[in-house]
Each structure stands twice: as structure tokens, then as C-alpha cells.
């Protein structure tokens, strides 16, 4: 091992770009279609294939280096190019331009249980999946017992996996992946699987891998996971590296990027919507009516949409969809003031629908809000704007009633409502006096 080589970055990405064709139908094409097109109108077909707007750059001139042993989080909104980057690093798809140098073997986990076959037993699938992930048979033999133990499906090892519950399936699949032992590990958001206990186990395993001096690239939407696992991060935005550096700084840049950071969006042109209703503005407000991106867990949060009905006699209802940072839908709430059985019809004009999420409803997490306007009879969606705004709910711990007094550890769950509790002594119970 020469010293110079050791000091070289383990991954060097230079001017990496990836272009996708977004023709009329880019995934599925029949021979006759393309033949007919080419025969009928050869010039047009040629022209179309050179048309610039038929293509889309998923990544554009991406440059970065990763040092040996670095654990890097890759963050960005949906469509920012994270998955494309991982796919190129895993050699699943090829770059259009640029070059990557990797000075170590790559193992990638873009999905758990790739190649699992329902008819095969757990044992057979461990071997097959291991081989697919690039393990040698000898390696799998060595780790077999550990894999089985980690998965907790010892008893069903010779049962076809189609008889497994979905939880068992996922646990087995992750366990194989967890024992993958390459120099560079590329992980897509595969940890969002299984029950909470297993997730915790997986996270522990990931931490172990990270501390073991291996280079890890980790894509996630879950900021708390990124900040606990990774010391540095890369923020991708529309195919470009927007920020690269210490995790905290990059996460901040992510959360504050774009206009969302102001807690409101006002559409001055290109209003989302159809010919009947359009969205004018979306806001997340505190109790004083100021737009916010952060709130204390014990403060009320108000969501508001301003929209215009372009037609008379509409029976629409506003609705908000709230997702947590894991991408999990937490709940949907719709305008309950309007009762459609009463045939309430509204005149054309501008309206505001505002909803209050009471204090102590959401947990401490980042929540993304989808703004939608829907017609029921007949069912019609006028607009559905996903993840327009977000709010980060903070738990200052001190003085928060929804956690046990004196306890400062994590409070898991999608929501953390403050519910009504009672405490009393049961009657006619011999233990009753124990209280």
C-alpha cells in the first residue's frame, strides 16, 4: 500500500451528468410504433430525437470527493437526482458525461430483498440474495448463522418465504444486506422497513458499519437519521450539488432552501389548478398569523390556503395531507365546516380555508404539507400540490407536558397527542389499597 494511494479520495466524481430521454413514452415502446413513426415521417422522428426539450438532465455537472472512511449523507427533495446518483455509483445505469473513480469495492443496497423468490425457502434466499449483492458463497457460509440470528426467523428457515409475514420477509432481507462487507457501502432509504424494534436494530447495525471505518453513502429523507449517522453531507438540488460540508450545515441549507423557508408561498403566476379552481397562496402560520417554518411542540399551528373558484355553484372542499420526514402519511384533514349533504354550493370568488393543528398533536419531527382542493360529486381533484410547505416541530423537553416528567429520551411515534388520562382506585379489588 503506497502512502499516496492511501491519501487519495476513495471516490472522485468529476463533471458527472446524466440525461434521460423523456419522449412520448420512454419506458415502453413497441417495434411497430417506432417503425411506423420512422417510416411515415422520417424527418420528424429524426428531429424529435434531437429536440432539446425531449431530454431531461437528472444530474448536471456534479463534482465531489469522498475520503476513505467518510460517512456521507445525500439529501435533497424528490427528483433532485439522489437515486440517479446512487444508481450510477452502483453501476446500474451509466452516466451520459463525466467520470467516477472508485478506489474500493462497492456494495449497494438500493432495495432489500432484491431477487428474493417467494417459492424458495429462507435458507435458499439468503444464499441467492447474498450472491446477488456480490458476496461469495464462502463468505455467506461464514456469516450464515449470524444472518439468521439477526433476522430472528430461525424457526422458519426451510419454509418458502411466501409463507412469511411481510415483516419476517423484510427482516430476513435486511439481515442479508447488513452483513454485506464492501469497502464502499451505498445505501438508499432501505431502513424505513419493519417494525420500530427492528428499525432500531438496523440503525444500530448501520452505526456499527459507519464506525468500522468503512465509507458509506447514505440517502435518506429522514434528517434525524442523517444527522446521527453522517458527519458530512451533500445536498442535491435539481441535479446540482448545492451544498457539501458538515451535516448540520447541509441540513440547514436543505431545510431553508427555496421559498418554502418563509413558511408561505404566493403564486403570482402559473397557479396550480384546473379551469375551475386555482391555488393562490399556501401558508403555515403561528397564532399571531405570521408565517413559520418552526414551531414548539406545545404551540398551535395554522395551515391556510387561499384559492379562487372560477365557476359558480361549486361543491369543493379544501384538504391538507400531512407527511412526516419518513414520507409516511400522518393524516389527512378536510374542511369539516362545509357539509355536502346540505348541498352547499359556493359562488365563484376568492376563499381562504384555514385549519388549526392544536398544540401537542404533532411529534417533534419535520412535517410536509400537501395542499389539495377536491370535488366530491363527481370526484374531481382541482389541485394537489405535494410537499409545498414544511414545519419543523421542536421539542424543547423542558416544560413539555406530553412527555413524562424528568424523562428526556426519545418519544417515538408519528404524532404525540396530549390525551386525557385518569387515575383512580378500582372498587372491590384486593390490590386497590396498594395505591
Amino acid at each position: 500500500m503506497t502512502a499516496s494511494k492511501k491519501n487519495e479520495p476513495i471516490i472522485e466524481v468529476k463533471h458527472l451528468s446524466k440525461q434521460y430521454n423523456i419522449g412520448v413514452d420512454r419506458t415502453y415502446k413497441t417495434l411497430s410504433d417506432s417503425l411506423a413513426c420512422a417510416v411515415k415521417n422520417p424527418l420528424k422522428t429524426l428531429k424529435e430525437s434531437f429536440k432539446p426539450n425531449n431530454t431531461f438532465w437528472a444530474l448536471k455537472d456534479v463534482n465531489f470527493e469522498i475520503e476513505r472512511g467518510e460517512v456521507v449523507g445525500i439529501i435533497g427533495r424528490n427528483g433532485a437526482g439522489k437515486s440517479t446518483l446512487l444508481k450510477i455509483l452502483s453501476r446500474i445505469t451509466h452516466p451520459t458525461e463525466g467520470e467516477i473513480r472508485m478506489r474500493g469495492r462497492v456494495g449497494s443496497l438500493l432495495e432489500v430483498g432484491t431477487g428474493f423468490h417467494p417459492e424458495l425457502s429462507g435458507r435458499e434466499n439468503i444464499y441467492f440474495n447474498g450472491a446477488i449483492l456480490g458476496m461469495k458463497k464462502r463468505e455467506i457460509d461464514e456469516k450464515f448463522d449470524e444472518i439468521v440470528k439477526f433476522s430472528g426467523v430461525e424457526k422458519f428457515l426451510d419454509t418458502p418465504v411466501k409463507r412469511y409475514s411481510s415483516g419476517m420477509n423484510v427482516r430476513l432481507a435486511f439481515s442479508v444486506a447488513a452483513y454485506l462487507d464492501p469497502e464502499i457501502l451505498v445505501v438508499d432509504e432501505v431502513l424505513a422497513v419493519g417494525d420500530a424494534a427492528f428499525q432500531k436494530k438496523c440503525l444500530g447495525k448501520m452505526e456499527e458499519v459507519a464506525e468500522g471505518g468503512r465509507t458509506v453513502l447514505f440517502v435518506s429523507h429522514n434528517m434525524s437519521m442523517i444527522s446521527s449517522l453522517c458527519e458530512t453531507a451533500i445536498l442535491l438540488e435539481e441535479g446540482i450539488v448545492k451544498e457539501r460540508g458538515p451535516t448540520g450545515k447541509v441540513i440547514n441549507a436543505y431545510l431553508n432552501s427555496g421559498q418554502e423557508a418563509t413558511g408561505q408561498i404566493i403564486f403570482s403566476e402559473n397557479h396550480p389548478g384546473d379551469g375551475e379552481a386555482i391555488l393562490l397562496a399556501a401558508r403555515i402560520l403561528d397564532k399571531d398569523g405570521g408565517p413559520i417554518t418552526e414551531a414548539r411542540i406545545d404551540e398551535d399551528i395554522f395551515i391556510e390556503m387561499e384559492y379562487e373558484l372560477l365557476k359558480n355553484d361549486m361543491r369543493v372542499y379544501a384538504n391538507f395531507h400531512i407527511y412526516d420526514s419518513y414520507g409516511q402519511l400522518v393524516f389527512v384533514t378536510s374542511d369539516s365546516k362545509l357539509d355536502y349533504r346540505s348541498e352547499l354550493k359556493r359562488k365563484a370568488g376568492i376563499y381562504v380555508s384555514k385549519c388549526k393543528i392544536p398544540a401537542n398533536t404533532l411529534n417533534s419531527n419535520t412535517y410536509y404539507f400537501t395542499f389539495a382542493l377536491t370535488d366530491v360529486y363527481p370526484l374531481q381533484v382541482h389541485f394537489y400540490e405535494k410537499d409545498l410547505l414544511f414545519v419543523t416541530v421542536n421539542d424543547p423537553i423542558e416544560g413539555v407536558f406530553s412527555r413524562p416528567e424528568g424523562y428526556s429520551g426519545p418519544m417515538p411515534g408519528a404524532v404525540r397527542p396530549l390525551l386525557e388520562w385518569e387515575l383512580y382506585k378500582p372498587k372491590n379489588n384486593k390490590f386497590g389499597d396498594a395505591l
Binding site: 420512454r26 419506458t27 450510477i88 453501476r91 467520470e99 469495492r105 449497494s108 438500493l110 431477487g115 456480490g134
Partner: protein
């Protein structure tokens, strides 16, 4: 994997080259080829009542039907040996070839998640389908052995050619499989054309009739089909009823190698887009 950490360097660049075979990598992943083939073998007859005996029954039933129709009704000649064993020996290798071809042609699309979620030599997927079929061929061979005892046919020294013929048939099925499976990723039409293509191929191959049934003048046309030499030689070397025709097997060998190598090149050339198209 951690034994040689530093001398390893992988460069990922846009792919343009035509000749881009990475033998080192194929060698490194060879166990996966074995696992893929094993998986195919294991799942093929899962949840069937008859299990692997289907490998016997498929050519057996076809032989019975063909014997009734072509042997009895149409009175097709059979190179001086009983028609049942004549057709079975042809069907044996034909069944292997046609199953291998249809499975390998659909293999890339059928394993879409392997293409889009992991990296591995894509060429192994159609290859494994063709490898797995050899087991079925071996099982079905037992019936031929029984028939040979019954009809008192003894193979001669040319039976040593049998492994070569099986390997050539495997290469032919794989080569065509490489072409068709790669095309199928982009144009699913292949799925619909394939059954007709295979059926047509059977009628232009000497499975149910001997080559000399076609007039001398047109026989060369038959030899353009690489299967002709393979099926004839397969039959002759096992049954020993007629000498192996080395001219036709040579033609078949050349054609097979051309199809096999061009198939590899075509698959290698198109594979960079598989994950984006699937």
C-alpha cells in the same frame, strides 16, 4: 473482499465502445451464474403435482402425438429406425433448445428488478436460463435410454461427440437468447413473436422428419439452419444408426459461434440502457 484494498480502482465513464468484455469481472461473479441457474432449476417445478417428471413428460407426450400423426398417418420415413425413437431423439434436444430460448429471451424483462436494483453481469441472466435447462435434458435422456434398450440400438464411438453437441446447442440457445432478450427490454413485441418463431423453427429443423426427405437440390437450405446439423448429429451419435455428417455439423458450429459471439456483443452494447428502459 477486503483482502486487497488499494490496488483496486474502478472507473465509471459513459459507455461508447463496442468491445467491452470484462472477463475478470465475469470470473469474479461466476458463483452468481451458478446461483441464478440453481434458482431457475429449483423454482421451475415448484407447486406442481408431478414435479421434475414434467421434464420427461413434455417430450414423451409430444413424441406419442407425433408418432401417431407423422409416423402412422403421414408415414414419414425415419432413417430406417422406428419412428418413436427417431422423433424422441430429435425432440429431446429440440425441447431443450426451445425451452432454453424462450426462457432466456424473456429472462431480462422477467428479472427487471435485478436490472434496476443491483449491479451484476447482465449476461448471466439469459445464460442461467439456458444452463438450467440442461438438467431437464439430462432427466429426459433416461427415457431415450430405455427406448434404446427396447429397440436394441447401441451407440458407437461417436457418442463421445454428445457433450460437444450439447454445448453447441447451449451456445446457440444462449446466443439467440442474448439477441432476443436485449431487444425485448426495449421492444416487448419479442414476447409475442417468439412463440411463432419457435414453432416455425421446429418445422424447418429435422425434428420430426429426416433431412433427406427434402430433395437434394433444396437440402442446402436446411443446412443454413444451425439446428439442422445439431439435431442430426445428436441423433446419429446417440443411436449410431447412421454416421455423423461432419459437413453439416461443421456448418452448424460456425453459425453457432457467430450467433453466440454477436449475441454477446449486442447484449454488451445495449446493456448500459437496460436499467433506464426496463
Amino acid at each position: 473482499m477486503t483482502e486487497h484494498p488499494t490496488d483496486y480502482e474502478l472507473i465509471i465513464r459513459p459507455k461508447y465502445g463496442l468491445l467491452d468484455l470484462n472477463w475478470q469481472e465475469l470470473k469474479e461473479y461466476r458463483e452468481l451464474l451458478f446461483f441464478l441457474a440453481l434458482r431457475e432449476i429449483k423454482i421451475r417445478y415448484k407447486q406442481t403435482l408431478m414435479g421434475a417428471s414434467w421434464a420427461l413428460l413434455q417430450p414423451l407426450f409430444t413424441m406419442i402425438i407425433f408418432t401417431l400423426i407423422f409416423g402412422r398417418l403421414a408415414q414419414i420415413p425415419s432413417e430406417g429406425i422406428p419412428y418413436p425413437i427417431f422423433s424422441y431423439s430429435g425432440l429431446l434436444i429440440w425441447t431443450y433448445f426451445s425451452n432454453a430460448l424462450s426462457q432466456s429471451s424473456n429472462s431480462l424483462v422477467g428479472n427487471g428488478n435485478l436490472l434496476s436494483k443491483v449491479y451484476m453481469p447482465r449476461i448471466f441472466i439469459p445464460t442461467a436460463s439456458c444452463l438450467a435447462g440442461i438438467i431437464d435434458y439430462g432427466i429426459a435422456m433416461s427415457i431415450l435410454a430405455v427406448m434404446m434398450v427396447y429397440y436394441r440400438l447401441v451407440p458407437n464411438i461417436t457418442i463421445l461427440l454428445l457433450p460437444v453437441i450439447v454445448v453447441l446447442t447451449f451456445m446457440l440457445a444462449s446466443g439467440m437468447g442474448y439477441w432476443l432478450s436485449s431487444i425485448c427490454v426495449k421492444y416487448r413485441d419479442v414476447k409475442f413473436i417468439l412463440p411463432f418463431f419457435i414453432q416455425m423453427l421446429m418445422f424447418v429443423s429435422p425434428v420430426i422428419y429426416p433431412t433427406d426427405i427434402v430433395g437434394e437440390k433444396l437440402q442446402w437450405l436446411l443446412y443454413l439452419n444451425p439446428l439442422t446439423g445439431l439435431i442430426d448429429a445428436h441423433r446419429a451419435c446417440i443411436l449410431g444408426h447412421t454416421p455423423v455428417d461432419f459437413v453439416s455439423i461443421s456448418i452448424s458450429t460456425v453459425l453457432t459461434i457467430v450467433i453466440f459471439l454477436s449475441g454477446i456483443l449486442y447484449l454488451k452494447h445495449t446493456e448500459k440502457d437496460f436499467a433506464d428502459l426496463i
